[in-house]
């Protein structure tokens, strides 16, 4: 990448970096704030200037970084003629707006915020015109929607501002969504998301079956953004924004984004019938409609807003024609429209600022009070009207010329006639702007006495009208820029020659008719206006609000129906949807014939199977008696463990059986606090329906399991088997997978388990502190208690078993790497050994002998496992790489030590801590409920009895 590419990236990034500064600089004063907003813009403009010679030579400056190559998303930028034109407009007008806003905004407005939003928006716009990747372009596209939302709603205290901002976001945002779809289709057709690739494969796109959907979706995005009919209504409402925002967004940048996109995609999409009829027709309707409405608007900014709608329609129509001459006219009109509309918006802002009203009916005669403003406004408006010697005339002539030989469904009259009508109304509203604001006698009822503003405020529009006149008189000045930009649009080198006099052409007559008709319209404006006000017409905002309200009602209804606060309902929906999806997938493709033979079933396994099925059926049938259901559930769990033993999964069997024990203990403890019976409360209909859902789900899952068990498939398991011993140093492949191959998963999992333990502890803590705690204290659980809570036999047996169980736990832990066992199982085994003490000897007795807090155990477990992983960094290996070696300790035989064992120790501690914390929390409820605590290990201690007897004898 050359120097130019680096500059290009910096230009694209500058506004975003610059956006951070004004918010800080506002503390140094408004001038400092405005200056620091201007600095990045000026810098970007200067850098753009450095690239101008390259682009003018017809080169394309490119810069490219991979971002997410898997998705085809790259941060690539390019600058050609069209990009240069727009980037120049965005930065140039941006600079003028920064200057203008400094004087326009009052002391109460948070100016730092304004400039931050403005620069964000500028960066987003710049990103759109410089992107060379349509996915990147989409990102910037959405950014403009968001940042313009902030700008339009800048005056947060005004309800119109907020509503206008929301409407703009809703309309342009949904258009943007459609466009995402269109762009994805486009990228799929071409096989690349790079714009340069897409522009080069126009024929391929147009021949594709997906051309029309892509076209419509992309146009939806462009039309909403550029306020084309029927999406034009948001633009006038966005005028609630401060005038600098309107001038920037709605003349030069945001609304031109749609036009830009159509121009950008022109080589790829334009030239087909569909393109012509959609784009040109929509443009034509918008042009005429916007012009007609503009004539009857009394608010200066509303008038300008509809004029903008109309001119955007004009641009859209020109692009829709699909001819290179029309493309040249469009590019030229983009420049001209920018100059006069931005100037007019700023003029309207000055009038508003000085006279405190924008209502045309309350204005008039301002020419004598503010001559400079009036001059600027008049020149700009005359250009908008298309009067010769101003630049608007030139491009409007070119438009009329193009329209004059365009056939619409073989009708030669309709396009030229409507184009002339649009131009006619355009003349009328432009002249109205001039005469009704500046013309006429001076009035004495202005809300505020107007006079010309300070230089800083009119400097920006004054500079723009200099361009208006300069291009209008010497059109050849614009030649090179128009040539390079139009060539970029058309995808071929064009050499347009812009001139004032084209000879006696149809366009000339159309122009004359438009100007004459416009003057007549203005003269009869008063009666027309009364008619217009009296006539019924659809109010776009009302329709929009109505639609929105309907949408809200519909979504609320849908939410209420599906989200009816019944988890049973959600689970049923979930189960049915899963089965339906599974069925759809099942019926989608053919299924290969079975490749595996059935494994024979010995009688004992058959017996286990029967037990399991009977168990499952009984749980369902007798689930109302909760104790019984729990016992049956444990039988099912046992059968599953037995199944694991038989089917060569010893580790699973060990884990299952110990988890089973702990789970049942937990549920038994829980049953102490909740009802022992489930009441009958569902109707038979619901039960049958649930049964059907359940049977269907079960059948589906069972069939799926059967189908894949009968077929072979390639797996990655071979790798684990091959590398377990050499790489992981263990012969129990399951354990090696847990602590080595997939150690990171295990690490995450023990953290989850630890968190679950802590959640339970925290829940219990919160519960006991609240009303439930008070309720508990008054509950009498005595009737559930046994007379002999801590039977002698059980106490003695558990104490004898304790060291044995711990020994077994350690043994299981140590052998884990090479034989079935490991940290998980041994943690569970020792937890069960401890639990037995709790159950037999009572809570307080055991608790007083506990040395280590369970929280600490979880913490240490996670830390040890983590440090083991970190340790491998010290050896320069990735996280959790295990190392192992064989050592000989004299009395014992050769012994393997592996870091994986240390990791397993972490697993062990976490499992033990979490399980114990869970059960410990449960037993705390019992204590809280006023259950008496035994200080002695046994309620009835035979030793005491012996002592008593001996005492009695003496």
């Amino acid at each position: 990448m050359g120097e130019g590419s680096n500059l290009l990236v910096i230009i694209a990034l500058l506004p975003f970096i610059g956006a951070l500064i004004p918010g800080w600089m506002i503390r140094a004063g408004r001038n400092a704030c405005a200056t620091f907003a201007a600095v990045p813009t000026v810098l970007a403009l200067v850098m753009l200037g450095l690239l101008v010679p390259d682009v003018m030579r017809g080169e394309v400056v490119q810069a490219r970084f991979e971002w997410l190559p898997q998705l085809g998303l790259s941060a690539s930028f390019f600058l050609d003629g069209l990009g240069l034109l727009f980037a120049g407009m965005i930065l140039g007008v941006g600079l003028l707006i920064i200057l203008y806003a400094r004087f326009y905004l009052s002391g109460d407005d948070p100016m730092g915020q304004f400039y931050t939003y403005l620069l964000l928006f500028q960066g987003a716009m710049l990103g759109i015109v410089l992107s060379d990747n349509i996915l990147l372009l989409l990102v910037f596209w959405e950014l403009t929607s968001l940042s313009s939302f902030l700008l339009i709603g800048y005056w947060k205290h005004l309800p119109e501002g907020r509503q206008g901002a929301r409407m703009a976001l809703a309309v342009t945002g949904s258009g943007g969504l459609a466009m995402i779809g269109g762009m994805l289709i486009l990228g799929n057709i071409v096989g690349s998301y790079e714009l340069t690739d897409i522009l080069a494969s126009g024929d391929m796109i147009k021949e594709s079956d997906w051309y029309l959907p892509a076209l419509i979706l992309i146009l939806l995005g462009a039309f909403t953004k550029s306020a084309q009919f029927p999406f034009h209504f948001w633009l006038p409402h966005a005028m609630a924004a401060p005038t600098p925002v309107s001038a920037y967004l709605h003349s030069a940048t945001m609304v031109k984004a749609g036009v830009f996109l159509m121009a950008r995609m022109w080589p790829a999409l334009a030239g087909t019938e569909a393109w012509f009829y959609i784009v040109a027709t929509v443009g034509l309707i918008t042009m005429v409609l916007g012009a007609v409405i503009a004539l009857f608007k009394d608010d200066l900014k509303a008038l300008l807003a509809f004029s903008t709608v109309s001119h955007l329609g004009l641009l859209t129509m020109l692009l829709g024609f699909g001819t290179t001459a029309a493309a040249v006219a469009a590019v030229f009109h983009i420049i001209n429209h920018l100059t006069f509309t931005a100037a007019l918006f700023m003029t309207a802002g000055i009038v508003d600022h000085e006279a405190h009203t924008r209502d045309i009916k309350r204005l008039g005669g301002l020419a004598k009070l503010m001559p400079i403003t009036a001059t600027i406004g008049t020149i700009a408006a005359l250009s908008m009207a298309g009067i010769p010697l101003f630049n608007g005339f030139l491009s409007k002539e070119m438009m009329l010329e193009e329209a004059s030989h365009t056939y619409w469904f073989e009708n030669p009259w309709i396009v030229p006639a409507l184009a002339t009508l649009g131009a006619l109304f355009s003349v009328a509203y432009s002249l109205r702007f001039i005469f009704h604001t500046f013309g006429g006698p001076v009035r004495d009822d202005y809300p505020h006495k107007p006079h010309d503003p300070p230089f800083g405020m009119y400097a920006a529009p004054a500079l723009l009208v200099v361009f208006v006149v300069a291009i209008g008189v010497m059109p050849f000045l614009a030649d090179p820029l128009v040539a390079v930009a139009a060539s970029a649009v058309a995808g071929e080198t064009l050499h347009p020659h812009l001139k004032i006099w084209h000879g006696v052409t149809p366009a000339l007559f159309m122009s004359i008719a438009a100007i004459g008709g416009g003057i007549v319209l203005l003269l009869i404006h008063r009666p027309l206006d009364r008619l217009w006000i009296a006539a019924p017409r659809p109010e776009a905002k009302a329709i929009f609000d109505w639609l929105l309200a309907k949408l809200v009602t519909a979504t609320r209804w849908f939410t209420d129906v599906t989200h009816n606060k019944s988890i049973t309902c959600y689970l049923a929906i979930f189960a049915v949807a899963s089965v339906a999806l599974g069925f759809a997938a099942w019926s989608g493709g053919g299924i290969a014939p079975p490749t595996r033979d059935l494994v024979p079933v010995p009688p004992l396994v058959g017996l286990g199977f029967v037990l399991l099925i009977v168990g499952a059926a009984s749980v369902v049938l007798f689930h109302r008696n909760r104790f019984r259901a729990l016992v049956v559930l444990s039988i099912i769990g046992l059968m599953v463990s037995a199944g694991f033993v038989y089917l060569s999964a010893p580790d699973l069997a060990l884990t299952q059986i110990s988890v089973e024990t702990v789970t049942i203990m937990l549920l038994l403890l829980a049953l102490h606090f909740i009802p022992k019976e489930t009441p009958k409360e569902t109707r038979i209909g619901k039960r049958i329906a649930d049964g059907v859902v359940a049977v269907v789900a079960g059948t589906g899952v069972g069939a799926l399991a059967y189908a894949f068990m009968r077929r072979d498939v390639d797996t990655i398991s071979g790798f684990h088997l091959d590398n377990s011993y050499e790489g992981g140093g263990g012969s129990n492949v399951v354990n090696v997978i847990l602590v080595d191959f997939r150690g990171y998963d295990t690490y995450g999992e023990i953290i989850v388990l630890g968190i679950a333990g802590l959640i339970i502890y925290a829940l219990m803590q919160a519960l006991l502190g609240g009303p439930a705690g008070r309720k508990l204290r008054n509950t009498d659980f005595a009737r559930d208690l046994s007379k002999d809570r801590h039977p002698l036999m059980m106490v003695v047996a558990t104490r004898v078993m304790m060291p044995i169980a711990v020994m077994v736990g350690i043994y299981i832990f140590l052998r884990g790497h090479n034989y079935p066992g490991g940290g998980f199982v041994s943690g569970l085994v020792i937890a069960i050994a401890l639990l037995m003490q709790y159950m037999a000897s009572g809570f307080a007795w055991t608790q007083s002998r506990q040395r280590i807090q369970y929280h600490a155990m979880i913490g240490f477990g996670v830390v040890i496992a983590g440090l083991t992983g970190v340790g491998s960094w010290l050896a320069g290996k990735p996280f959790l790489t295990s190392a192992f070696g064989y050592f000989e300790f004299p009395p014992i035989e050769e012994f393997e030590l592996a870091t994986a064992m240390l990791f397993d120790l972490g697993v062990f501690l976490t499992v033990l801590g979490a399980v114990m914390l869970m059960l410990f929390s449960l037993s705390r409820i019992a204590r809280y409920a006023g259950q008496s605590v035994n200080l002695e290990p046994m309620d009835y201690d035979p030793a005491d009895r012996v002592k008593q007897l001996e005492e009695g004898r003496e």
Partner: protein, 117 residues
């Protein structure tokens, strides 16, 4: 054998689904426990069935069952225990707080605020 395992998975799923559609917390917890069994066996079975071939390495060219689903299921068993425990605690808490162990919110006793218009 495959048929037996598939039937067991199906039966446990069906029983589990039926139970989680009940209206009280305890059967729902039982149902979830049953569903965890079913899912665990299902995942385990995706390694295909083998008898007497535990994935513990032997000398020589031995055959082994698929270790990967086993490792996945091992962690799944432990995690489903954690999940059950949390659910049990939530159920106890809900019962103590509200005096009922219904899982659905009755339309009558909503304490939720009306959405702001």
């Amino acid at each position: 054998m495959e048929l037996i395992v598939a039937t067991s998975v199906g039966a446990m799923t069906a029983a589990g689904v039926y139970l989680i559609l009940r209206l009280r917390a305890f059967p729902v917890i039982l149902g979830l426990a049953l569903l965890s069994y079913a899912v665990n066996v299902f995942i385990f079975a995706s390694g295909r069935l083998a008898v007497n071939l535990p994935p513990v390495l032997q000398y020589g060219d031995a055959q082994y069952s698929d270790p990967l689903p086993q490792a996945l299921v091992l962690t799944a068993i432990v995690i489903s225990f954690g999940m059950t425990a949390v659910l049990v605690m939530v159920a106890i808490g809900a019962f103590l707080e509200s005096g009922t162990d219904k899982v659905d919110i009755d339309p009558g006793d909503e304490d939720e605020e009306e959405p702001v218009k």
